[in-house]
Amino acid sequence: MAAVMPTSAPSRLLLSGNEAVARAVWESGVRVAAAYPGTPATEIIESLARYPDLHAEWSVNEKVSMEVALGASMTGARAFCAMKHVGLNVASDCLMTMTITGAYGGLVIAVADDVGMSSSQNEQDSRYWGRFAHLPILEPADSQEAYEMTKYAFALSEQYETPVLLRLTTRICHVKALVTVGEREAHEPAGFVKNPQRWVMVPAHAKARIPGLFQRDEVLRGVSETSLLNILEPGSDRRVGFVTSGPAYMHVKEAFPDAPVLKLGFSYPWPLEKMRALAAMCDQLLVVEETELLLETEIKAAGIACHGKDVLPRMGELSPQVLSPAVDRLLGKEPPPPAPAATPMKVFPRPPTLCASCPHMGMYYTLSQIKNIIVTGDIGCYTLGAGHPWNALDTTICMGATMGVALGIDKGRGTVDKNKRILAVIGDSTFMHMGMQGLLNITYNKGNITVLLLDNNTTGMTGGQATPASGKDIHGKEAPRVDLVKLVEALGVANEHIHVVDPYELPVLFKTVREEIKFEGPSVIIARRPCVLTDGFKPFRPYLVDEDKCTGCGNCIEVGCPAIHVTRRDKVIKPSGKEVDLAFVNIDNQACTGCGLCVQPCAPDAIQHVARHDIPIHIVKT
């Protein structure tokens, strides 16, 4: 993190879309850049933090990051914030009023849609925000465009005093390609000017400014109509013409190199006249967009006949392979059947798992052993607790929802659920993001919930970013560390119902959870251990299985550790006549880091430390 990125002479670099955006933000003279981590946008701010001469920060959530960027823009500084699609939902309260105040210093919001849902709870098309908030949208199709459009976005923002949305998708953020980069330009803020009519959004002031939004829409429509980012490529095969934007453009060009294409880089407001020109030059029009039928609807509303989601999928990523059969159908051709060798082989699924020694395993193993409970979950690595072998989470909705949902279940339940105990699981980073209000709401409304705060001292799922609870800033330097116990107490939980436990100590964990779910009122159990992928984690001596002692009971497998492997399966008939499956195991001592969770449920004491001389060299002995 400490290393500063190379900043010298213009050169060609292999950059991901995220890195290209970061480079352009830095070159544009931005002073403030803020974000909360979220796939696929995380690396934008992560790589910006390595550049000099700007303030980069992990904000506690996306809404705050946008407010920080807006504040910076008010001083005339260039400012930037980045988020994943669901992050913009969180920030939308700020967005919908920020569009009325407008920007002073160039203000750009990068929003990354996880098209195909590689790491998200839903799929959204963030282009709708442009229309909803009356903000221009730029959509790059690769890293070079991401770089160039980011730079243009700041100029556009300042010229029309508007925040600009830079819409990315996973296939922009996480594709590396060659980018020609430049140098940083200084941009000195003009200074904050007191102007309540502009910055104090009370009804009278907002009413006066809203007509300006509509005027801005019209002006920007003209800009879009003549923008060099909206290119009409006439092509030679005029049977089908394409309207497309973002990475979908690349798929169109790959599959139909000779077709007419209107490539939209400035996609809101859309250039209607260019759309008409394209329609006039080809037999049929196909709108290729990820993911919703936004342009298609507008083109049809303008009275232009077109195809789109009638032949293309409404969710997931597009590709040449998806486009070709759809176009065949438009041309009245039967799509060729897929070659037999191109059919996928049947292979077991390999869902993501918790890591060996992951502290969450202790909690989920414990929950899997307790009956008659309802457990609400949240967003993070710990969402994996909903999977095998624990099946320990009953709900997951959005960042911080766990406690609101838990309280709703508590207050809404009828006789049938009366005797169930309700627990709410949340991670430390999610708690900082949007969880605190949910807990405050539980205490204020006298909820009967046991909150399990899984404190691994980081934002695990996105690769280990710091939070206010980890005592580090974005550069890894020391920062004030919030005391979770005091915080929880301040939010109204009685001190005797706040516990800090070690999730590797199963008996203590089990006993604490058992006791607190009996308590009629709010309680918080903080399970504290560092994430194994962070520097805070120090591996212990690994374990092995004494094969002579292993009885095949399979208890250890229920812990869910990926380092435990079955070597042999068998069946026995118990005296009662019941048939029981046996699974004899070993432990991969290259993967085991010695947390000891599996040792505790092992009935015959078959799991022991490896001899010292067998310890792999990369394991630090403790």
Binding site: T39, R171, M345, R350, L354, C381, G463, H565
Partner: protein, 206 residues
């Protein structure tokens, strides 16, 4: 050559195995040879032991970053079942270079699914050209399990449209600041990877 010849390389394995880094080094080699390059993967949850594939495309001008099934010249598999999972991406004249590692996920240990008995055998039976070798034991023999990645890069070195030395130079550059010993160990691992594939092919064609 007037046509835009694109080379498609698919690298597959499991989160944490170094698939993305290996592909990055392959990309650097293609750039050094003057190619346009695109490299993509879906990496959101990959570090949690999930499936990871990295697509590398290079040529005069690369458009779509994604590789289509049936178009891969070289499939570099870091794990047997993963190579099988992605084998339909191979072209009929493509080749799969597969590390014999067998990494069994918890869902298989729990008895919910079966691990294929002979993944590379299944690929051969489907008509694919496959070379398999044990990159991890080669690395272990060289004294450092972490050399496995360089063994894998050595394995692919003779199946690229440029000289193996171009790739080796990129590996050396990457490790240069770690000192002469590390660089030498990686040279050995690279050579061992090349040799492992050549030896297998020798046996197969004998």
């Amino acid at each position: 050559m007037t046509q835009n010849q694109i080379t498609n390389i698919l690298v597959c394995g499991i989160g944490g195995q170094g698939v993305m880094t290996a592909t990055e080094i392959l990309a650097e080699a293609a750039i050094a040879e003057g190619h346009d390059v695109k490299k993509t993967e879906v990496a959101g949850m990959a570090q949690r032991g999930g499936v990871v594939t990295s697509h590398l495309r290079f040529g005069r001008k690369v458009l779509s970053p994604q590789i289509e099934p049936g178009t891969v010249q070289v499939l570099l598999g870091f794990e047997g079942a993963e190579a099988l999972r992605w084998s339909h991406y191979l072209r009929p004249d493509g080749i799969a270079l597969v590390n014999n590692a067998r990494l069994v996920p918890p869902v298989v240990e729990l008895g919910l699914f079966d691990y294929p008995e002979d993944p590379t055998g299944q690929m051969r039976a489907a008509g694919h050209r496959v070379v398999s070798f044990d990159a991890m034991s080669i690395a272990r023999d060289l004294g450092e399990i972490r050399l496995g990645n360089t063994v894998m890069l050595g394995a692919i070195a003779d199946y690229l449209p440029f000289a193996p030395d171009v790739l080796l130079a990129c590996i050396v550059k990457r490790f240069a600041r770690k000192g002469e010993n590390v660089v030498d160990a990686n040279r050995l691992a690279f050579a061992a990877g090349r040799e492992a594939v050549a030896k297998q092919l020798g046996t197969a064609t004998a």
